[in-house]
């Protein structure tokens, strides 16, 4: 998994910061974004192996990130993280397109395992 590329999008800095620190420790290359717009700009230029995105964000939200990623790179896996209250709705709406869902707080170990599975397929 050395150098595999992960993008993390969440409008709270702490989520990206923590994810980056934890994932870099496992040898991933990680870029973080605080909102969807620059993230999609970046994705247009470069492919990432896994995109971890928050569902509810101002402006471009997780749904739109998902649609764009799938259009650009069908094989890129998307992991959606969301506030617990939105989980059911999210699962219902996005069934099939998303590799995994996690309610926040997300156990980092579980997120890592999910990324691992995404990359194995």
């Amino acid at each position: 998994m050395q150098g595999q590329k992960i993008m993390v999008i969440d409008d709270e800095k702490i989520v990206g910061d923590m994810a980056k620190l934890a994932l870099e420790q496992d040898g991933f290359y990680v870029e973080t974004f605080l909102n969807g717009e620059p993230a999609l700009e970046r994705l247009k230029k470069e492919k990432f192996d896994v995109v971890v995105t928050d569902l509810k964000m101002k402006g471009i939200d997780g749904m739109e990130v998902l649609r764009t990623v799938k259009r650009l790179y069908p094989e890129t896996k998307v992991i959606m993280i969301t506030a617990f209250a939105n989980l059911d709705a999210a699962i219902e709406a996005l069934r099939g397109d998303v590799h995994d869902f996690f309610p926040k707080p997300v156990k980092i170990k579980e997120l890592k395992a999910s990324i691992q599975r995404a990359l194995e397929r």
């Binding site: 969440d10 709270e12 702490i14 923590m18 420790q25 928050d54 707080p105």
Partner: protein
């Protein structure tokens, strides 16, 4: 005499306020427990989720805190009813703490825009205003209680005001992208020639005046940079100006202040800015003004060896002020210290210190040559090295990352910390995490799949078995604490303990929250730690997500792995900022109910409030249930029929007795109250309840049989019964045998957090020597069962809480035996050695005299 006993027991009825019936009291008590539990579970969850293993966002903190505040407030409301509003201050305390927390959660700046702030008013989260250096120093002063010089901060608001007042924003903006040396120099000149805005001048003068009032008119200050971003993510080490030995007069301080501000626009500083992606004007400058320490010696500590060895710290030291060490201009002494709990000096190198910097009497500093005999001599005594090392370890532990610390020792030998900032060190080669099993393999497994992990991590050391709180005083630093019960008293050794393993306990106990706060690897509820682990044995505890293992011996590789492989979330500013909220939620300050601060005003966190309420609610319950005899008159009291003549009457307040029995008498089998049943079972234990007469000394007029009601008749219509007020999970038992008065208040449910025992014993009617022996004996036995004991004359009070139902039933069984055992004890306690003998007999279950 009886009046005295009564008042000692608190039997005289209290205030004029109408007390609610006991059933209502009990119902409120239970509601307090329920709310407290809910609150403690949320606190435990917050500690867990904010511990570094989870990605969390502010929404989680907001919603968890809102639940928590609701539960704590609910608890306060029940508490008000229970205590008939005896503690109105608790409301104020709650809103104050609630305000603090909301300020943090909702990111409201705590600032009111002050230009100057005394260190005592600075909290860590104010670093945007006071800069990283000031914030860290204030934190060490206010929170770690380290010796920091008296000081004040000139804030970034003052910086903004200065820049605006002197018309500089446009000039700074003009060179934002492309600062050429000439423009920078012109900017610096303008700052040096600038005017201090009037309101800043007033604030500065006030602060300087306060310093002069304390330290005299001739004192001097160090005026140092504390840039906004100088916090940790970038150290800016040595980029900005420091002006030493500035006379404490507003004009001189103002000049020094401008000099420090100007250094923000030095060429070096701007290069450094650019290197880290900042542009000119992005960083604001706060300043710290500290009272000068007239240092006999001073220097720098790296809390980690520069080669990355985290077990070693390095102290550099020279004569006089430390500037020459900081700037690397002198050949300083070097002490290498191994970071054991008792720091061990492992290497010493004396430099040739042929110059030293000292304070000039008229201000400023001067470089002089030390006396010839000082040039090659060591600057620090071993004790000083150890004292510095201990503080460095404490600071590193607190900030949870390697530190670069400036220190000084003044002419009276007092140690001062002058600065601490994160130290960047090279990453060392990591142990392979997959090979953990392999490292541990040669070591025998002492415990596996036992207990509940409270705090993950690896801890190793010698086992020190703590049987009662007094033994904590002798706790060897760095040991593994092993105990039967968990106890918040352990906070006394938290900073030095390598790991904690207990037989009983829960992850939501007070101790558990302390362990999480101090990050002490902790395993509770193992059932057998005190049996399986030997006092003095070397062990390693590895506590992780999938349970815990205790290895025989010290597995060094596991410790190193643990130390280095966990992501260092603490290095993230956002993480530290969010976690800071726990300081007002989960830290427990009210550890000991017997300290003076155990008051509503002493509560500094939500956890403190819960602790206070629980302790006082138990007290309230005990107080009310004492009127059991009154209840026996007003309620249906049912006689307990036992093979032994206890004379116990039961007042059933709900579920204390099995349904369907007789209205007058109940048998042992019909007792449904869990705690009462356990106590009575103990009383009936073979051999405990002596019928044999014991020969009495002439000073004793107590018999081994119950005497009543003759000696208790003092004109009031005392019913003379032994009364148990009982529900399914609760009992308050008042027992009087002769002059002994024994009271036991106990809650025993499936939730260990709720459970408590309050034991009270008063005796009399025997000579004073025997009385004190009896107190000694009861106290010694209760301590063995984990009670916290207070004795006063002939009174013994024992408290025990947070204990699982199974354990508690066992304890109560033994207390039942103790009640029987002590009935006739005085008569046989003939000499001091007999106390020890009878304690031993009791603990070994030999009850015959």
């Amino acid at each position: 005499m009886l009046g005295r006993i009564r008042s000692l027991l608190g039997l005289a009825k209290g205030s004029g306020q109408e007390a609610p019936p006991f059933r209502t009291v009990f119902k409120n008590f239970k509601e307090v427990l329920e709310n407290n539990n809910r609150a403690l579970e949320i606190i435990a969850d917050l500690g867990d989720k904010l511990g570094g293993d989870y990605l969390f966002d502010i929404n989680y903190i907001k919603s968890a805190y809102s639940d928590l505040a609701g539960a704590v407030y609910g608890s306060i409301q029940n508490f008000d009813v229970l205590t008939i509003n005896r503690y109105p201050q608790i409301h104020e305390v709650f809103s104050r703490i609630d305000d603090h927390i909301k300020t943090l959660i909702y990111d409201v700046t705590p600032s009111r825009g002050e230009m100057v702030l005394d260190y005592k008013d600075i909290t860590w989260n104010m670093f945007r205003e006071v800069g990283g250096k000031n914030a860290a120093l204030a934190e060490m002063k206010n929170y770690l209680k380290l010796n920091i010089p008296d000081a004040f901060a000139v804030t970034t608001h003052a910086f903004d005001a200065f820049v605006a007042h002197n018309g500089l924003p446009e000039k700074i903006g003009a060179i934002r992208e492309n600062p050429d040396p000439g423009a920078l120099e012109r900017l610096r000149t303008e700052i040096m020639g600038g005017e201090i805005p009037p309101d800043l001048a007033v604030a500065l003068q006030g602060a300087v005046e306060r310093i002069r009032e304390t330290f005299g008119r001739d004192c001097f200050l160090a005026v140092r940079s504390s840039a906004e971003e100088e916090d940790g993510d970038f150290s800016f080490a040595g980029q900005f100006e420091t002006v030493l030995n500035v006379p404490a007069r507003s004009k001189a301080v103002g000049e020094a202040y401008k000099k420090v501000l100007a250094s923000l626009f030095s060429e070096n500083s701007v290069v450094y800015h650019k290197m880290h992606g900042y542009r000119v004007g992005d960083v604001k400058m706060a300043v710290g003004c500290l009272v000068m320490v007239d240092a006999a010696k001073s220097g720098v500590i790296y809390s980690v060896a520069p080669n990355g060895d985290r077990d070693i710290l390095v102290i550099n030291s020279t004569w006089g002020l430390g500037t020459s060490v900081v700037e690397g201009q002198t050949d300083a002494d070097m002490y290498m210290v191994k970071k054991e709990v008792e720091p061990l000096v492992v290497g010493t190198k004396y430099g040739r210190k042929d110059s030293m910097v000292i304070m000039r009497e008229e201000g400023g500093t001067v470089k002089v040559r030390p006396a010839e005999e000082m040039v090659g001599a060591g600057t620090l005594a071993e004790e000083e090295v150890k004292a510095l090392a201990a503080q460095a370890v404490q600071i590193e532990k607190h900030f949870r990352r390697p530190q670069d610390i400036e220190w000084a020792i003044d002419k009276s030998g007092k140690v001062f910390i002058l600065q601490s900032r994160p130290l960047r060190i090279p990453e060392v080669v990591r142990k392979d995490s997959d090979r953990q099993e392999e490292y541990a393999e040669p070591h025998g497994v002492l415990m596996e799949n036992m207990g509940v992990v409270v705090q993950k991590g690896v801890g190793a050391g010698r086992v020190y078995v703590v049987r009662h709180p007094g033994e904590l005083d002798r706790f060897p630093k760095g040991s593994v604490l092993v105990a039967k019960f968990d106890s918040s008293n352990f906070v006394r050794v938290m900073p030095y303990v390598s790991a904690i393993i207990t037989d009983t306990g829960t992850p939501t106990s007070h101790m558990a929250s302390l362990c999480r706060e101090f990050r002490v690897p902790t395993l509770v509820n193992t059932g057998a730690a005190t049996r399986l682990l030997q006092h003095g044995q070397e062990i390693t505890l590895k506590a992780g997500d999938d349970g815990a293992v205790v290895y025989d011996g010290i597995v060094r590789e596991l410790i190193e792995y643990d130390d280095r492989d966990l992501p260092k979330m603490e290095e993230l500013f956002e993480f530290r900022k969010r976690r800071y909220v726990l300081r007002y939620i989960s830290i427990l300050n009210l550890v000991d109910p017997l300290i003076d601060e155990f008051t509503p005003e002493g509560c500094k966190t939500m956890h403190d409030i819960l602790r206070f309420i629980h302790e006082k609610s138990v007290g309230e319950l005990v107080e009310r249930a004492r009127y059991g005899n009154d209840m026996a008159k007003h309620h249906m009291a049912i006689k307990l029929d036992l093979p032994i003549p206890t004379g116990i009457m039961i007042v059933d307040i709900g579920g204390g007795l099995a349904a369907g029995g007789s209205a007058q008498r109940a048998t042992f089998e019909q007792i449904a109250s869990v705690p009462l049943k356990a106590i009575v079972k103990g009383m009936m234990h073979p051999g405990v309840w002596h019928a044999d007469a014991v020969s009495l000394g002439v000073n004793d007029f107590i018999s081994s049989m119950m005497r009543m009601p003759d000696i208790t008749t003092d004109g009031r219509d005392y019913a003379g019964y032994n009364v148990a007020v009982a529900s399914g999970e609760y009992v308050n038992l008042s027992i009087r045998f002769g002059y002994h008065f024994n009271m036991l208040d106990c809650y025993c449910s499936d939730n260990a957090r709720n459970n408590h025992v309050y034991f009270r014993f008063v005796g009399g009617a025997t000579d004073i020597v025997k009385r004190s022996r009896r107190v000694e004996l009861i106290a010694a036995i209760l301590r063995e069962y984990g009670f916290n004991i207070v004795t006063k004359g002939d009174l013994v009070i024992g408290r025990l809480a947070n204990i699982s139902r199974g354990e508690l039933e066992k304890v109560l069984d033994h207390i039942g035996r103790l009640i029987g055992y002590t009935r006739q004890l005085d008569a046989v306690l003939n000499d001091d050695s007999s106390v020890e003998r009878f304690v031993r007999n009791f603990l070994e279950e030999r009850y015959t005299f």
